[in-house]
């Protein structure tokens, strides 16, 4: 007789997996209305946020003090904020409807600001605006997929120095690690819903004309020239150099909201509006390695920590779930995933709870966006 419990994999107890965030410790109060997106800068000192009030704000991560603010729109919300990777610049990209704004928050560091300005200005030398360019498959195009312009005197005075306008409202921005390419996804954009932009050339390209379903979000592989695009039900992985489809992941979710590639590059976690959390081992099947359900409401965002073995999701139920995830290079052994902490306490308004999450680059601290505030969680 074998005790069935003995066949289950032995998971470590959560307390053996410290450090991980256990309490909420800072609130960044100031936004009017919902906060839609948060991002921690590459140095780990600043938190950028954007929300329904049309502003982007920058806060001292450790003290919660708002140090910079700009109003990008009086009509549309700021849907996404993302920092350009790399500590040599301090550039925030933010999506408002069809526009991506690029801004340099001022913290009294002229050197850093000048380097950042140079990076944003470099592309004006090209001044192509896509007109005489061709698409990835070589066909000539009439209409440029994006217009790169100055955003106007008022915004320029406040540090918003560049704007790229695509054809449909943007819901996702993700940067390539080197800080020159970034991708945007406009789910309603049909044939041009996914765009890859080159900052140094102010260039926008549409890599795919056809996708099976509405694109939701896209992301670059952390180390290889691979590109992932999520539609509602699948995640397609493309080789950017060979310009070919490598594989199609089938998470089994009805509507994918977000995904993140593990920093090691071989695993991927997916969150869905139909409350599922799915782990894919890219070396294994196209089906999930593990399917998890922890939330009674939609999962809005998932994110891996870059240096600690942690990831987290956030949900419309107002909670975050923190997981410890041990990934081994051994092909025979799958990853060990242990839920270590559920963090509660975010107000749920109009069935929207926690909308975005980001991790500190070094410490096991995460920040989340929710109704009219953001909260930091720490160990």
């Amino acid at each position: 007789n074998i005790d069935p419990a003995s066949l289950l994999p032995k998971l470590p107890r959560p307390e053996e997996l410290r450090p991980f965030p256990t309490i909420a410790s800072i609130e960044y109060a100031g936004h009017e209305g919902r906060v839609r997106s948060v991002a921690i800068d590459p140095s780990g000192q600043w938190l950028a946020s954007g929300g329904d009030d049309g502003t982007v704000r920058v806060w001292g991560l450790a003290d919660g003090k708002q140090q910079w603010k700009v109003k990008l729109s009086s009509e549309d919300p700021v849907d996404v904020v993302r920092w350009r990777p790399g500590q040599e610049t301090s550039i925030i990209s933010a999506a408002v409807a069809e526009d991506i704004f690029f801004m340099i928050p001022s913290f009294g560091n002229p050197e850093l600001e000048q380097t950042s300005r140079d990076i944003l200005d470099a592309g004006f030398g090209y001044a192509t605006n896509g007109k005489q360019l061709t698409t990835a498959n070589g066909a000539a195009r009439k209409d440029p997929p994006a217009k790169w312009t100055r955003p106007g005197a008022r915004l320029e005075d406040e540090g918003v120095l560049l704007k790229a306008t695509v054809r449909s409202p943007i819901k996702s921005i993700n940067w390539h690690r080197r800080g020159d390419f970034f991708c945007t996804v406009s789910p309603s954009g049909q044939r041009s819903s996914v765009a890859i932009h080159t900052l140094s050339k102010h260039l926008t390209q549409i890599p795919f004309r056809k996708l099976p379903g509405l694109a939701q979000t896209a992301s670059f592989h952390p180390s290889r020239p691979l590109f992932f695009v999520a539609t509602q039900r699948s995640i397609r992985c493309y080789d950017l150099q060979k310009q070919e489809l490598v594989k199609t992941l089938q998470p089994g979710a009805r509507w994918i909201s977000s995904f993140d590639v593990h920093p090691g590059g071989d695993n991927l976690v997916v969150g869905s509006y139909d409350r599922r959390l799915l782990w894919h081992d890219l070396e294994m099947s196209n089906r999930p390695y593990k399917t998890m359900r922890f939330h009674p409401q939609a999962i809005r965002a998932v994110k891996f920590h870059r240096t600690h073995p942690l990831f987290a999701d956030c949900s419309d139920d107002g909670t975050l779930q923190i997981f410890h995830s041990k990934v081994v290079s051994d092909l025979m052994e799958g990853p060990t995933i242990v839920p270590v902490k559920m963090l509660k306490g975010h107000k749920v308004v109009n069935r929207l709870g926690v909308t975005d999450i980001d991790w500190h680059p070094q410490h096991p601290w995460c920040r989340v966006a929710s109704i009219a505030k953001k909260t930091k969680n720490t160990d």
């Binding site: 140095s43 780990g44 000192q45 919660g64 140090q67 909260t375 160990d379």
Partner: protein, 495 residues
């Protein structure tokens, strides 16, 4: 010999045999008086009266005492303590008596326009007052506050602003000030997010109701915001800790300071037409040394209280480093388990002298560490009780065994290292001490009930800086835009 105290015991009142001990040489009981039968329901106050009585210490004026049993302060009746700890009332209880802690009393709050990031004090007992010698005019006690609005303010005892630093256009800081200290009664150093250390001349009018803070030196070198600084008046040296992990050493002397790095000066990158020198700009200089001992933000740095050629720095990289300032070399590294946000040094006369370092963590506790190279155990004790990050620390001016801490939880807490218990397994074992007094923010009183429940401890009332002085008491500043003064005189009387 046993001594019966007070009224003859009623039959139903149980008595407990206690044995009094102390580590204070001046408070020793006469031979044979240390054991006593006391009523089981006696509490701290009763025990204190017993000790002060004619047949015991026979004190000329009563000394309030506290009592430690196995490292914990007695806070209930003796009977209840024994019950709670599963101890028999039949056995003899050893009570260690120490001079009592008197609760700090709120005195005043000084209102600012923006969050207060740091505080320092000037008095004849404060460091800068002592350094000033005869130049400090007795009675002119001052508070220096640093604010997120980029300004320094000097306050008198009545809560009036005697002087405010120049604004950015007149040669002041161009961003939030994070730290400021008196070098003497007439000199101030400050630093903040604009990456500069600034030296100011402070002068008061004859009536001492107004004064001026004039910029005298701008120090450039850091490439990231400065979080903390310390000063040493007699040598005119300043230490700074920046969020890129660098530590700067500076001199207040214009003539001996190296030239400022040109690339870091304002306007260095602007086009010629945009270059506009600020008319009132003070001379610009560079660092004596600038090193990067830390791999993550440096949050605090201080001079060894007895040797200004030694510095200690704490960082979010989990380490405390001992730096030899004559060689700029790191002499010792203490690695802890958490990001460190604050640091202070407690002098030690016993155990070979030196200092004990207290470091505040993002994990809500304070770690006490021995910085001596080769110390048997670097972590000496853990202070637990704060509900959020510990952002500032200051040693007691009165003794070697207490300190005050400030936290994002909206409180300052006073700790007495004489009382310690064994840590639980969840706490990681070791010696653990809990705070003896909690100072709340006066600004939050009354507001607390109407406030909606928050999952963030101390929301809206983060405390960023605290100083403890014999004359002023405990001075703290924070997110409530207040400098708060609590009377702390004789709070923990000297042993």
């Amino acid at each position: 010999m046993d001594t019966e105290m007070g009224q003859p015991a009623l039959a139903e009142v149980q008595q407990i045999r206690v044995n009094f001990t102390t580590t204070s040489p001046d408070l020793q009981l006469p031979e044979g008086r240390t054991q006593l039968l006391v009523p089981a329901d006696i509490k701290r106050y009763g025990l204190s009266r017993v000790l002060n009585s004619e047949s015991m210490l026979n004190t000329s004026s009563p000394i309030p005492f506290d009592f430690l049993i196995n490292g914990s302060f007695l806070r209930t009746s003796l009977e209840d303590y024994l019950k709670a700890n599963g101890l028999s009332a039949e056995s003899t209880v050893t009570l260690q008596y120490v001079r009592s802690l008197i609760p700090p009393v709120f005195q005043a709050s000084f209102e600012h326009d923006d969050w207060v990031s740091g505080v320092d004090v000037l008095s004849d007992t404060a460091r800068a007052g002592v350094w000033s010698g005869d130049k400090f005019v007795t009675g002119q006690d001052r508070i220096l506050s640093a604010s997120y609005d980029g300004l320094l303010r000097i306050w008198n005892k009545s809560g009036n602003v005697i002087a405010t630093s120049a604004s950015s256009s007149l040669g002041g800081h161009s961003a939030s000030v994070k730290s400021a200290k008196f070098l003497s009664a007439s000199q101030v150093a400050s630093a903040g997010l604009d990456r500069t250390v600034r030296i100011w001349k402070y002068a008061e009018a004859d009536d001492h109701l107004s004064g001026t803070l004039k910029p005298t030196l701008e120090l450039y070198g850091h490439k990231a915001g400065i979080e903390s600084l310390d000063v040493h008046g007699p040598t005119g040296r300043v230490l700074s800790a920046a969020s890129d992990g660098t530590i700067g050493l500076w001199t207040t002397s214009k003539s001996s300071a190296p030239a400022a790095p040109a690339a870091l000066l304002p306007g260095a990158n602007a086009s010629a037409s945009k270059k506009r020198k600020i008319a009132s700009s003070a001379p610009q200089r560079g660092p004596l040394s600038l090193t990067q001992p830390h791999t993550s933000a440096a949050s605090a740095v201080l001079f060894d209280p007895a040797d200004a050629t030694i510095a200690y720095s704490a960082s979010q990289d989990h380490t405390i480093r001992t730096i030899d300032l004559t060689t700029s070399k790191v002499e010792n590294v203490i690695t802890t388990s958490h990001p460190l946000l604050s640091l202070c040094a407690l002098r030690r006369s016993g155990g070979g002298g030196g200092v004990l370092l207290a470091a505040g963590t993002s994990a809500r506790h304070i770690t006490l560490a021995d910085p001596r190279v080769g110390a048997a155990a670097t972590s000496v004790m853990t202070l637990r009780g704060h509900k959020n990050m510990v952002t500032s620390l200051c040693a007691s001016p009165d003794n070697e065994h207490s300190l005050v801490s400030a936290s994002h939880d909206g409180t300052c807490r006073i700790w007495d290292l004489r009382g310690a218990r064994a840590g639980t397994r969840a706490e990681g074992g070791g010696a653990v001490s809990e705070s003896v007094y909690v100072i709340e923010r006066e600004s939050q009183k009354g507001a607390q009930k109407s406030k909606s429940k928050s999952d963030v401890p101390g929301r809206g009332a983060k405390v960023f800086g605290v100083a403890w002085d014999r004359s002023w008491g405990i001075v703290s500043g924070g997110e409530d835009r207040m400098v708060q003064v609590n009377r702390g005189r004789d709070l923990l009387a000297a042993d």
